[in-house]
Amino acid sequence: MIAALQRRWRHWQARRTPPVATLELDRRHIFIMPNRVGAAFVLTLLLMLLAAINYQNSLAYALVFLLGSVFVVAILHTFRNLAGLRVSGVAAGSVFVGEQARFVLRLESLHRAHQAVGAGWAPARMQRVDIDAGHVLELELDLPSERRGWLVAPRLCIDSSFPLGLLRAWTWVDPGQRVLVYPQPLEGELPSLAARLHDNEEEGLRAFGQGVDDYQGLKEYQPGDSWRRLHWKAWSRGGALLVKDFAEIKGRDLNLDFVALGGDVEQRLSRLCYWVLRLTREQQAFSLQLPGQAIATASGDPHCERCLRALALYGGGP
């Protein structure tokens, strides 16, 4: 019964707040209800009213009426604190599985200052900010990315209980934001590559990725680098986050082939991801072969992105 009611309530809320890129909050979107403190406040007022009645005390009546009126007026204030706020999503960057996906929310004040406005996925975990009149504020909201593919931001709650904290005004916003989550880069040997490396030793290619003998020096951390290679000592001294760089591949074009790899699908994709990143970093041209999809040999960031996208969306998600 209650579950059904809750479902209907959510459904009704969803109907009132359809996904839109930019939403200007007004009375159609803002819900307002006393919160638990507000309920306790009303209860206290009732007790005070009882005292006023039983003691026939005019001043007690007056205080009850004053606080009751403050409560009613606070409804307007709390509503006003959200009304006229323009909420929009900002295009967000891609992340790798396991990283925190960052959704950027833009809060724009159209009329007046908005105080202690909270935004978040769940009412329990909200970020609170003030937005001055005519100002714009960009808010970063994190969401853990657990699977590759499109990570669609859930509906976002925007709330405020300013000024008294007795009433909560809230709205659900769905700016339709989504983030592409790439597979988690997994360090490992590529058999096809290794095989070719062995075959073509005379061409001057060296083995890579395994030994510490090939230590090349330090370079700045980039997403996809193995955490095991992080130079923690340097970082703990307050320096930049560095990774130990081991090997470098030079020479001819490479083909990253899904079929040639072992392991399950996700592991294969993760390893491919690692190699896509690594080869791009080393400005090496490569091609990518996925079942039913082939990306021709190229190099550079756009190529890398195309490959990663293909990996992320392979098979329509895991």
């Binding site: 403190v37 306790a40 406040f41 206290t44 007790l47 005070m48 009882l50 005292a51 006023a52 009645i53 039983n54 003691y55 026939q56 005390n57 005019s58 001043l59 007690a60 009546y61 007056a62 205080l63 009850v64 009426f65 004053l66 606080l67 009751g68 009126s69 403050v70 009613v72 007026v73 606070a74 307007l76 204030h77 509503f79 006003r80 009304a83 006229g84 724009e108 004040s109 159209l110 009329h111 105080q115 202690a116 609170r128 003030d130 009149a133 005519g134 100002h135 714009v136 504020l137 960009e138 209980s161 300013f162 000024p163 008294l164 904290g165 007795l166």
Partner: protein, 661 residues
């Protein structure tokens, strides 16, 4: 920092609010509560500064038990308003030590509001009512201070938010106050004990009224709808005392329970409204025979008005009196007669003998009373607030030795003699006279106007009032107590600073009467605004429409407030445009004004030329603005704001140029 912790400024507001809430209780509750409050406050501050440990569970439980025990021990009662209030205040104080999260702070604030109401039950005079605005504002500010907004860091800005809320709530509050229906009490609750200390009690020894003679507290105030009766007619009856045990006059239980015999209004009528101060006793005051005004008021057999519950709050009631109505002209019942002639079995032999001698001389009760009055008048009797102590035969001692006494002595002695002579008689306790406030046209009756006089009964005539004090000191009745006392007697010796002592200073007296007038208005229109007065007021002004005023008025007030707060007609300002307006204002302070029709780019170029030091910042802002507004490029307003703040810091180093608009 934990977002649910209590910020410093908010803690400050909380402590201030608590201190303000506590102030009225210093006068009502045991003093050790004040010490407890100070201790807890200091501890809480030290806890915030990390200088003191957070009290453990066992310690807190122990504190609670100890405090509860101390409250019980110091009040000596388990039930009662004082005990309940002391417990509430103690909880309010101890909660301070247990206040860690915002939730605790909110509980504390709610307790604070309740404490303000409880303080009203002890004292609802005008000064305390005005004072109570302070704790209410502080509590509201503390509530706002718990918000995680930047404004909260500035105490004055928070205070302004609270004040604005209160002011905006005021119209609705007034509407509710006037129109919200007043209900009769749902159940009876213990009243404040301290208020029972002053005023008449239901037994009277002469010393009691002498004590009242030193008390300048107001007993009640009266305004007349009909012309003001002469001062000598203003005998405010409260209760009759018909039992004498040799020392004290008291009321026989049977006479207060006996229902009144039927009577019909006749003769002239006096209509008046009484605002009675809380006395902790059930009786009301009335002139002669008055009609019981409300359902919960009963007229007992002696024609006194008695409320079912004690008067623990200021009580207003309208009365009509008919001074010419005869009281019980038919023969008295045996029980009544016995009670009205009751005397101790023995004692005061001289008085009894004298009474019999008088009776022989004056067989008519009327003549006998006249003879007694003449005796008091002609012989060497004195009216004084400082009577000498009387011996075991008090009446004898007074009549034949000391001959110095207060109204109670004269009334008691006269009743005694009348009874000894076989004339049914009783002592009436009440008030006499009062001070006319000419500005407000009302009479203030104070405790020192307490008076005692005599009623005696004759067949066919009924009960008649007679005042022996009038025979001794007619000024007491005609002018008042202060004038009636001998020159060497110090009026209000116990209250040296009472303005009543300085009536001869004209300006001080005017001030005092003005203040009295204000208090009367407060009691009559605010404190006395209960069911009866509300009904009369609403009927007089709104007739049958009163029920509609509350909903319609409420909706109207909210509508106006909503329009005023939300300003839906206000053109909304694009963020970029707002920045440009700020940019213009900034430059205007340095003498640069945009000409009508001058474009932003041209204006910026001109300004840059005029303020070469800031040329770079000006041009940068203008370019960003133009790019955003006209270039269609999605320049973020954040960037505009940055440019603007750079320009502002640059310009702040330059001197301002004052220009007139």
């Amino acid at each position: 920092m934990n977002p649910l912790a209590i910020p410093r400024v908010s803690l400050g507001w909380l402590l201030l609010a608590q201190a303000l809430v506590m102030v009225p209780f210093w006068f009502e509750l045991p003093l050790w509560l004040g010490a407890l409050w100070l201790g807890c406050t200091v501890w809480r501050v030290q806890m915030f500064r990390m200088r003191a440990a957070v009290p453990g569970k066992v310690f807190k439980a122990l504190m609670l038990l100890l405090t509860a025990a101390a409250v019980y021990l110091s009040s000596g009662r388990l039930l009662g308003l004082e005990t309940a209030a002391a417990l509430l205040v103690a909880t309010f104080i101890l909660k301070l030590l247990e206040m860690h999260s915002q939730r605790d702070a909110r509980v504390l604030i709610l307790l604070g509001f309740f404490c303000v109401v409880v303080a009203y039950l002890f004292d609802d005079s005008l000064p305390w009512a005005l004072y109570s605005v302070l704790p209410v504002v502080a509590l509201l500010t503390a509530l706002i201070g718990l918000q995680q907004a930047r404004v909260v860091a500035r105490p004055l800005a928070t205070l302004r938010v609270a004040a604005a809320l209160l002011l905006q709530a005021l119209p609705l509050m007034l509407l509710l106050f006037v129109f919200f229906p007043r209900l009769p009490p749902l159940w009876s609750l213990p009243a404040a004990q301290n208020q029972a200390q002053s005023g008449l009690s239901d037994d009277m020894s002469a010393a009691d009224i002498t004590e009242l003679g030193q008390d300048p507290a107001v007993a009640f105030r009266v305004s007349f709808d009909t012309p003001l009766p002469p001062r000598s007619a203003l005998y405010w009856r409260a209760l009759t005392l018909d039992r004498y045990d040799g020392r004290r006059w008291s009321q026989a239980p049977s006479s207060s329970l006996r229902p009144v015999t039927a009577w019909q209004p006749q003769g002239p009528e006096w209509r008046y409204r009484v605002i009675q101060e809380p006395s902790g006793r059930p009786w009301m005051v009335a002139l002669d025979v008055a009609q019981a005004p409300a359902r919960d008021v009963r007229q007992s057999g002696d024609f006194a008005l008695r409320r079912l519950r004690p008067i623990s709050q200021v009580l207003g009631y309208s009365l009509s009196s008919w001074p010419q109505v005869p009281r019980e002209p038919q023969a008295l019942s045996d029980a009544q007669r016995r009670q009205a002639l009751q005397l101790p079995a023995s004692g005061d032999p001289r008085s009894r003998a004298w009474a019999l001698a008088l009776k022989a001389q004056y067989p008519q009760p009327q003549a006998m009373v006249q003879a007694l009055l003449a005796h008091f008048h002609d012989q060497d009797y004195h009216y004084t607030l400082r009577p000498v102590a009387l011996g075991s035969d008090a009446v004898d001692d007074f009549l034949f030795n000391s001959r110095r006494g207060f109204c109670a002595h004269f009334a008691g002695a006269m009743t005694y003699v009348l009874r000894a002579a076989g004339i049914p008689a009783r002592v009436v306790a009440g008030y006499q006279g009062g001070e006319l406030n000419t500005a407000g046209q009302f009479i203030t009756v104070r405790q020192y106007d307490a008076h005692a006089w005599v009623e005696y009964w004759q067949p066919d005539v009924g009960w008649r009032s007679v005042d022996p004090t009038f025979a001794v000191a007619p000024q007491r009745i005609e002018v008042g107590l202060a004038q009636a006392l001998a020159a060497d007697e110090d009026f209000l010796a116990d209250s040296p600073f009472s303005p009543l002592r300085y009536r001869n200073l004209a300006w001080l007296n005017d001030l005092r009467l003005g203040w009295d007038n204000l208090n009367y208005g407060w009691q009559r229109w605010v404190l006395g605004y209960q069911a009866e007065q509300q009904g009369a007021f609403l009927l007089a002004w709104f007739k049958g429409l009163a029920v509609y005023v509350l909903p319609v008025g409420g909706v109207l007030i909210m509508l106006v407030l909503a329009l005023w707060l939300l300003k839906p007609w206000q053109r909304r300002i694009e963020p970029g445009l707002r920045h440009f307006q700020q940019f213009e204002r900034l430059l205007a302070r340095h003498g640069m004004r945009r000409e009508p029709g001058e474009g932003p780019q041209a204006f910026a170029d001109r300004a840059a030329a005029a303020l070469p030091g800031q040329a770079e910042a000006i041009v940068r802002f203008a370019q960003a603005f133009v790019a955003q507004r006209y270039g269609g490029r999605g320049q973020s307003p954040v960037e505009l704001a940055q440019h603007l703040s750079q320009l502002r810091t640059g310009l702040s180093r330059l001197p301002r140029i004052k220009t007139r608009e």
